[in-house]
């Protein structure tokens, strides 16, 4: 049984195609994580503003992504936006856009949490030294916040990698879709294909995410002491 599964993978193009699919997955995650890390920091700073109005708006934006599942957002982006505005966007582009919006919200909350968790006397003693507002953030608050939020940020990245699996549901041809095509193709030759292919994809995701979450744990342990 294992033999035929291996044969299915390594004869023909199957393994290459799977890896190409994996590349699409990684590409989506990478672009989304990179961009939302930057936009998230800006959003986080916005959330620490004193203005009530800004606070409420930020909160609404954040809660929208907290309450409504990402898959629903993907659907809204994929079917809803196109049918309302007649804009043509590739599934992959939609996934990236939705992930960036979602990532910005989550990342912003991480940044806000990190900034607010800094003891108040840190900013007091910065001010007492005569640091200006900008200098206070630049030299005192942000460097400390970055350390505090790094583990949570890596965890968010892991979540985003995992969530790329949903892309298949809006027709993006990524690893899962390729896997399904292979299963379909091998239905006569390897009837147990779905076990092996889904098992393999399961492990591939694990291999992508495990190092990330290990890193997050290590950093957390290191910096909490």
């Amino acid at each position: 049984m294992l033999n035929s599964a291996l044969e299915m993978l390594f004869t023909s193009q199957n393994i290459v195609r799977l890896l190409e699919g994996l590349l699409v997955t990684i590409r989506i995650a990478f672009i989304a994580i990179l961009i939302s890390a930057c936009t998230g920091i800006a959003f986080g700073l916005l959330m620490t503003m004193k203005s009530k109005l800004i606070k409420v708006l930020c909160r609404l934006y954040l809660e929208a992504f907290r309450i409504i599942p990402v898959l629903v957002w993907l659907f809204i982006g994929y079917f809803g936006i196109t049918s309302v505005f007649n804009i043509h966007l590739e599934g992959e582009v939609i996934v990236i856009i939705v992930f960036i919006l979602w990532g910005t919200a989550e990342m912003g909350d991480i940044v806000r949490g990190a900034l607010e968790s800094l003891p108040r006397h840190q900013s007091d003693s910065g001010k007492a030294l005569g640091l200006s507002f900008g200098q206070l953030y630049r030299y005192v608050l942000i460097p400390q916040a970055v350390r505090r939020m790094l583990p949570a940020t890596i965890n968010l990245a892991t979540r985003m990698v995992k969530t790329t699996s949903l892309a298949v549901l809006i027709g993006v041809v990524e690893i899962l879709k390729v896997g399904q095509q292979i299963i379909e193709n091998a239905r006569f030759t390897v009837p147990t294909a779905s076990f092996w292919i889904y098992g393999l994809i399961f492990m591939l995701y694990f291999i992508m995410c495990y190092p990330l979450s290990r890193l997050a744990k290590r950093l957390e342990a290191k910096w909490s002491s």
Binding site: H88, L89, E90, V93, V173, Q180, I183, E184
Partner: protein, 273 residues
């Protein structure tokens, strides 16, 4: 190739082709240099991806020929892989120029897209395991029926037999897999589809070969895109001269159906019933 660099192109084109009227769509396709056709990737022998990642199947044969006749080279077709449920949205949002994914002509769909002349005839069929063969829809009372989301089978059963419990899957692969895993008593789908599948899956038989009225399968274009529509109709008529649809049948469907099925029962040559 269905992925990769082409996509950037498409995004650009999208902006140009925005708006309700698509006058000059042929011109636009020619400028772009590729014809985008939505096909299935998991529905052999009509549209599927083989082990080397190539699109194959009956629909795909015809689609390639369209590209050849429109753009002079059959490699200038870009296959966009669609699923049953998103064929209309793909057209509406200009993701494809033509849908040729076993698209059955129905009233609801006609509201949303424009169908060209048909190239195939279809009715519904029900396939079930030999051990518990379903030969009439009445036998399905109280049992689970597997369907593929967004297909005419689902549509028909939901409207005409609302009491049946349906197991709905996004993809063909999953639906047939579920039948094999014994998750439902039977699977309802286009009879062309189930016949082909039962052929290659010993132990399963199409107990109900025709159900409901006979429908047609036709290429579809975006609503209002008469220019492309007319071109397709003309093209189908042209192809009839060399019996191209029959050739495609022989190449892709015959190996599956064998001689049990007469081609005339399935194919439509020249767009005329």
């Amino acid at each position: 190739g269905q992925t990769g660099g082409d996509q950037a192109n498409n995004a650009n084109n999208a902006n140009k082709s925005n708006g309700a009227s698509s006058a000059g769509s042929l011109e636009e396709i020619k400028q772009r240099g590729t014809l985008r056709i939505g096909v299935f990737s998991d529905k052999p022998p009509f549209g599927y991806v083989d082990a080397n990642g190539q699109n194959q199947g009956f629909d795909v044969e015809i689609a390639r020929r369209f590209a050849k006749d429109l753009l002079g080279d059959e490699s200038k077709v870009e296959f966009v892989l669609v699923e049953a449920a998103n064929r209309v949205p793909y057209l509406e949002s200009n993701k494809v120029d033509i849908i040729m994914a076993n698209f059955t002509v129905t009233e609801e769909r006609k509201q949303k897209v424009d169908f060209a002349n048909p190239y195939m005839k279809v009715a519904l069929g029900i396939v079930s395991p030999d051990g518990a063969l379903i030969t009439s829809i009445d036998q399905l009372q109280g049992k689970k029926v597997i369907v593929n989301k967004g297909t005419t089978a689902q549509d028909y059963l939901t409207k005409n037999h609302p009491d049946l419990e349906l197991l709905k899957y996004d993809q063909n692969t999953e639906a047939f897999e579920a039948l094999k895993d014994g998750r439902g008593a039977a699977l309802a789908h286009d009879n062309t589809e189930v016949l082909a599948w039962a052929k290659s899956n010993p132990g399963f038989t199409v107990g109900v070969p025709t159900l409901g009225s006979t429908d047609t399968i036709a290429p579809a274009v975006k609503k209002g895109d008469t220019e492309l529509l007319n071109w397709i109709n003309q093209e189908l008529a042209e192809l009839a001269k060399e019996n191209f649809v029959k050739q495609a049948y022989e190449k892709t469907l015959l190996p599956v159906y064998g001689d049990d099925v007469k081609p005339e029962e399935l194919i439509v040559e020249g767009g005329k019933l």
